[in-house]
Amino acid sequence: MAFDAAEAPVLVVDGLRTEFATGEGPPSVAVHDLSFTVRRGETLCIVGESGCGKSLTALSILRLLPRPYGRIGAGRVLLDGQDLAQISDAEMRAVRGRAISMIFQEPMSSLNPVLTIGRQIAETVMVHEQLDWSACMGRALEMLRQVRIPEPERRLQEYPHQLSGGMRQRVMIAMALVCRPRVLLADEPTTALDVTIQAQILDLVRDLQQETGTAVILITHDLGVVAEMAERVLVMYAGNKVEEGSVTEIFDAPTHPYTRGLMAAMPHLGGGQGHRGRLNEIPGVVPALHARPPGCSFAPRCPLVLDKCRVEAPPLLGVGGTHAAACWVTAGNA
């Protein structure tokens, strides 16, 4: 299903700020003033190195930040116009798993080891749709078929440890999609899997998305995955959005030095099987939460850094079309 750019977005994240309380001092800010939208049927990829705040963004949307210190400090998360940051806990539970679902990186540890696969899928249906248990199990079975698990009747009765990693991730997808959510948050769903399985899982997500029109927010390290899956791309660095655009805009004209660094670190783009770029070849590391520099947070690692960058953080500046980047040098005219 091609998404319709004129349609109102399903999910709008507006000025999101995610922070951790730190005893006496001011809270440390893990996600800073982040805004983006996704439309029905669209895939938005969020990319960035480890520690950039990608997972925390997804967890903020579902209000599942680590307790008791994590919290949404500011901003709105609008699902069809309703601000999720403001609704009650009970209303939020009704959203989780039904309107917005999430799948996680580790299929090994994300399923409950002592409950059967069938039970874990069916209980999602049960809490949201008040069907009787056999109807819920029926839906679970149907969902296992849709995610192309062989012998679904048997798998229903099995426990997670009896399945391979790829099968478990299929089960996670089945569990996430069983209530036909409007938005799927996929946090590095293939990172823990080997390459051929990765491709199968991504194909599966895309196929199911086409059937259901679910908006997908796909979090990844891997620009190869971005190239295959994304319509739009959001590049995050140290809790900030540093660049955003359509997949062609980003790949044709990467603008922020960080995005360029990520591209350069990729062995070959669209090279199919085998090499997947790991984003680890930009010198230096993402600064820790409590040690984020003033000004542009990428400045300490940036090859093009100016004095101004160390003082004042650049705003997000349009560079044509839907493409924008936050850089004094490449996007502004400093």
């Binding site: 579902l62 599942l64 008791p68 539970r93 009704a94 959203v95 989780r96 798993g97 039904r98 679902s101 999430m102 996680f104 580790e106 540890s109 994300s110 399923l111 409950n112 080891p113 002592v114 409950l115 209980e123 999602t124 809490v127 949201h128 426990y159 440890h161 996670m172 569990m175």
Partner: protein
């Protein structure tokens, strides 16, 4: 599966043999002549010689052991010296109060401690958690007899709500049976609850940090379901293990509790036997208690696969 179960069952045999050897040596290696001990203070030399022959004490140690073990296996635990009655009968008479007290204590402790431990873990670091943990330290460190006397003074003597002491058989009067068990159960159960609450909290705390708990919440499940189904079921193996090993704690406490509340159970029988140096009774009691401990823990081991499907025999 079955081969493990059978091996696990067979593994209790050496344990029980070691217990039997220790119990056997208890009498033979105790200071003084066992026959003289058994015969008592006013016995003549002839009495002692007769007893020695009767018990086979004049034969080699190994032969004595084999003979004694043979008797045990045929259900003959010997006779009490003071009451001149079979030990097994004495024990059977005393089983009901002790069994009743143990069962109510276990139930009380589980019903109190598991919810407390879950609550403390769920709200780790909060005042709720700190209060529960402080209470558990207190309950663990105050001796059973102090708790017992405190309860008697409060609920029996001052408020006159419950009987001071004694025991009424279930078959005589079920209501009185329960009323007499309330205070001993609390006195004995608090220590055990404290242990169980701490283990529950620690295990739950670990489990609540697991990824699958986040998954459960991301599905929109309510907290009670997350805690009691998704987390507690995962935490159940260590908790159940503690219930089994904590039985040792319970057994020590039973002896004290039965004395404080004048309950005519195995604990009291043990104390009486020790005071009277009634060796055959002491031996019988130790054997029975050890066997119960071994078999309860065997049953718990065999129950693991029901709790956690990853455990395969």
């Amino acid at each position: 599966m079955w081969s493990y179960a059978i091996r696990r069952i067979l593994a209790t045999i050496p344990v029980l043999c070691v217990v039997a050897i220790i119990v056997f040596l208890l009498l033979r290696l105790s200071p003084g002549d066992p026959a003289a001990i058994i015969a008592g203070d006013n016995a003549t030399v002839d009495d002692i010689a007769m007893i020695r022959a009767q018990l086979g004490l004049d034969r080699p140690l190994l032969q004595q052991f084999v003979f004694w073990l043979g008797q045990l296996l045929s259900g003959d635990f010997g006779n009490s010296i003071y009451l001149a009655r079979p030990v097994i009968g004495l024990i059977m008479e005393r089983v009901e109060p002790t069994l009743a007290l143990s069962v109510t204590t276990m139930a009380f402790a589980m019903l109190l401690a598991i919810p407390m431990g879950v609550l403390a873990a769920w709200r780790a670091g909060s005042w709720v958690d700190q209060t529960i943990m402080a209470l558990s330290v207190l309950a663990f460190s105050v001796p059973v007899f102090l708790i017992g006397y405190g309860l008697v003074i409060g609920f029996s003597l001052t408020l006159d709500l419950l009987p001071v002491q004694g025991f009424v058989s279930l078959s005589d009067d079920p209501l009185q049976f329960l009323r007499h068990l309330v205070l001993p159960t609390i006195a004995l159960g608090l220590v055990y609850s404290a242990l169980l609450a701490r283990i529950t909290r620690a295990t739950m705390l670990e489990t609540l940090n697991e990824d699958f708990i986040r998954t459960a919440r991301a599905k929109g499940l309510a907290e009670p379901r997350v805690l009691l189904l998704h987390a507690l079921k995962n935490a159940s193996v260590p908790i159940v293990t503690t219930i089994g090993t904590g039985l040792a704690l319970l057994i020590g406490g039973v002896v004290v509790t039965e004395s404080v509340f004048a309950i005519p159970g195995i604990g009291r029988l043990t104390i009486e036997a020790v005071l009277q140096r009634d060796y055959p009774v002491i031996q019988g009691v130790i054997l029975v208690i050890a066997a119960v401990y071994v078999f309860v823990n065997l049953a718990i081991d065999l129950a693991y696969p029901l709790l956690d499907p990853r455990i395969r025999f």
